[in-house]
């Protein structure tokens, strides 16, 4: 008889939800194994290179659906390695949202006040820092100046960046070469590993089964380290509890696939997906007007022309984060950098017959790329995303060697969502087209649908079993011992970048998960000190290992 590997806790995914769970459970004494679908990369592996196969494509998962495409992290550290490290807390009104169900979507136990202590913990660990105006890139400064000119406010965004190390190279989506971005490789993950947790990269979980002793058997495939279309092995691990943290684009797919072996899933698994209400606008800045109207000057003869310079989003307009406004009219507008590659094609130029993403006018727009200013709208959408039947493996039919796949998500924006985007579009135009500063158009939704980098809510917490897959302890309804701690647990769009909220919810869930683990016979306790940020050196993969070991 073949012996079956077993562990106390199996964590699926090493992003925010997985890393935080792995840390607390390992630090509390549990045996923890983390299976991560992507490779294990670190500073020396992060490339300044767009060539297919470099870190820029290795660390991402881009899944096109019907009406919505999702960009996610795909590496040890998950989204924290590829994100822009913007870490605001969600505004108070967000937790009171009703959305399409006509009653509060969040569990009654959670409000901004009850979540603030958990926000505090994560903010201490990462750590989250505030930016001064000296830290603000030209693009952020331009957005601030335009907001100010239009009578609006603008805030430097709190971030998880070591400002002293940042070179403003704007390659941070490919992983930070300079260890300036304080990803999970600097805090929760080294903390977990120091406490005995084992991280296995290129292990893609496919399905869960129940074992006779009330635990779970987790089936995984091992993925080739260069060509993710190739499976190089497979295996199983038994665990007393399972933490699902594969991301909102993958967790529900794994659970749906597991329905055949686990039994019926809650109705909300794979439903109520939110793209966090995200939408992009591209402005073409009139350099003369930026100088004349906004008084901007880089000191080298240029007013702006600095699209390439910076560190993602640094300044946001929060004037519409106002709880007295009706739902779907509350949003933030954040300056953003979107690198060449998968985004530029979606930017629209004004053509003879209307906006166009191709042709002569688009080419002319590309000539002015350094004068682009991208504005990221984060509105309240209607949780209208639904996942169809899962693909045979993974969360998509993989097309390219890395990154690109076609997935089962469909998203048909409701009038509420469309109205929210229209209101945000109008606000961006009012700010940026004022006095000829810029011309602005939204990205087309025709090619790949709406585009989110912050998938949420596809397996959400709540008090109502009909509209939430998880109880307020993050346990999957009807499947005790399975917990979900990633972005899929967040009930709805947040109107701001969600990483800190995902993390705070994961921190908040941990005492209950530890208690559940103890009830299942795991010798674990809650209350270990928070991990110390490794200021100078991140978690390194084992010396003998390749990126996939």
């Amino acid at each position: 008889m073949t012996s079956i590997e077993s562990t106390d806790v199996l964590v699926v995914g090493s992003g925010f939800g997985g890393a935080i769970a792995a840390y607390h459970l390992a630090a509390g004494g549990a045996k923890v194994v983390v299976l991560e679908r992507g490779p294990w990369l670190q500073a020396e592996d992060f490339d300044h290179d767009y060539l297919l196969g470099k870190s820029y494509t290795k660390v991402f998962d881009f899944v096109a659906g019907d009406g919505m495409s999702v960009l996610s992290g795909n590496c040890v550290g998950g989204g924290s390695v590829v994100y822009f490290a913007a870490l605001p807390r969600a505004p108070r009104f967000t937790f009171e949202r009703q959305g399409s169900i006509g009653r509060r979507m969040w569990p009654k136990a959670i409000s901004r006040d009850t979540l603030d202590p958990w926000y505090d913990r994560v903010s201490q660990v990462i750590p989250v820092v505030q930016q001064g105006w000296d830290d603000i890139s030209y693009a952020g400064g331009l957005w601030a100046a335009a907001c100010n000119h239009a009578g609006r406010t603008a805030n430097p965004v709190p971030v998880g960046i070591d400002k002293a190390k940042c070179t403003n190279c704007n390659w941070m989506m490919a992983g930070c070469k300079f260890d300036a971005k304080r990803s999970l490789l600097f805090n929760y993950l080294p903390g977990a590993v120091a406490n005995g947790a084992e991280i296995r990269p290129l292990h893609e979980v496919q399905q869960l089964e129940r074992t006779d002793d009330g635990g779970y058997r987790v089936r995984y495939n091992q993925i080739d380290e260069e060509d993710y279309r190739i499976t190089v092995g497979s295996g199983t691990i038994d665990a007393k509890i399972v933490i699902m943290a594969a991301g909102a684009g993958a967790t529900p797919v794994i659970l749906q696939r597991s329905e055949a072996t686990l039994g019926k899933m809650p109705h909300a698994v794979g439903r109520y997906f939110s793209g966090n209400g995200e939408r992009l606008n591209t402005a073409i800045i009139n350099e003369d007007r930026a100088r004349e109207v906004l008084g901007l000057d880089r000191g080298n003869g240029l007013a702006y022309a600095a699209n390439q310079i910076g560190k993602g989003p640094v300044v946001a307009n929060w004037d519409h984060l106002d709880g007295s406004l009706p739902e779907y009219r509350r949003f933030s507008l954040e300056q953003l950098y979107f690198p060449p590659g998968l985004g530029t094609i979606l930017a629209q130029a004004q053509g003879a017959d209307g906006p166009t993403w191709l042709g002569v006018e688009k080419k002319e727009m590309l000539r002015r790329w350094q004068s682009w200013l991208t504005i990221f709208q984060i509105v309240e959408d209607d949780n209208e995303g639904v996942f169809g039947p899962p693909p045979p493996t993974g969360n998509a039919y993989r097309i390219s060697q890395q990154m690109l796949g076609r997935g089962p998500l469909s998203y048909d924006p409701t009038p509420n969502t469309l109205g929210a985007w229209a209101a945000a579009d109008a606000e961006v135009r009012d700010i940026l087209e004022r006095d000829g500063i810029a011309t602005v158009l939204p990205w087309t939704n025709d090619l790949v649908g709406a585009y989110t980098v912050h998938p949420l809510a596809s397996c959400r917490i709540g008090d109502d079993p009909e509209t939430s897959a998880l109880d307020d302890r993050h346990e999957l309804r009807g499947h005790p011992g399975i917990f979900v701690t990633d972005g899929s647990a967040v009930p709805a769009a947040l109107t701001v970048n969600p990483a800190l909220t995902i993390s705070a919810l994961a921190e908040r869930a941990m005492p209950g998960i530890v208690e559940a683990a103890r009830a299942r016979g795991i010798n674990v306790s809650y209350g270990a000190p928070l991990p110390t940020a490794a200021v100078t050196k991140p978690l390194m993969r084992p010396v003998t290992a390749t990126q996939g070991a």
Partner: protein, 188 residues
Amino acid sequence: MHSGTSDEHVKTITLEAFADCIVPGEKRSPDDRAIAGVSTGGGAVQAGALEMLHHDATGITAGLEALVGMLNGHATTYAADKGITLDGDVPPFVALEFDDRCAIIRTLTTPGHPEKDGWVLLSLFCNMAFDSAAHMSTHDAIAQGHPGLLTIGFELPQDDGLWRFADFSYGRQLAKPHPDTTPSGSPA
């Protein structure tokens, strides 16, 4: 098949004509039929769209012949509908004027079109060849004067091949923060 053209040639100039719609460029020679010549400087074709499409990592290479056949079929139908007489010396899509080529691509990429996925992929990779030269090392692309990176004005790296911008900020306060900002810098 069209007179005087091999299957491979049909495939190449049809895909070039498609790529030229996504990011148009100037003709490589006076008798260049694939590139319509509606723009100055290099476009997606000069940027290496064909090399990109034939890069196995894209996952689209095996489907190119089928896409070419479908595209020329759509061009034939389009021409018949519009009463356009096609020049038989080149594939039907190449025989069309630039605006007609673009009109076909817009139709094929409209939400709900049954073939949309394939045409979006083709468009995506043609655009990537131009805006990020993803079929080659970025450093080689810059050294060789890649037309896409040149056109967008992509800044040069430092001597060690890495980008760093010492000058990145106006260095002054340019707006008032929201009055309800919390001490931690977040919305209230």
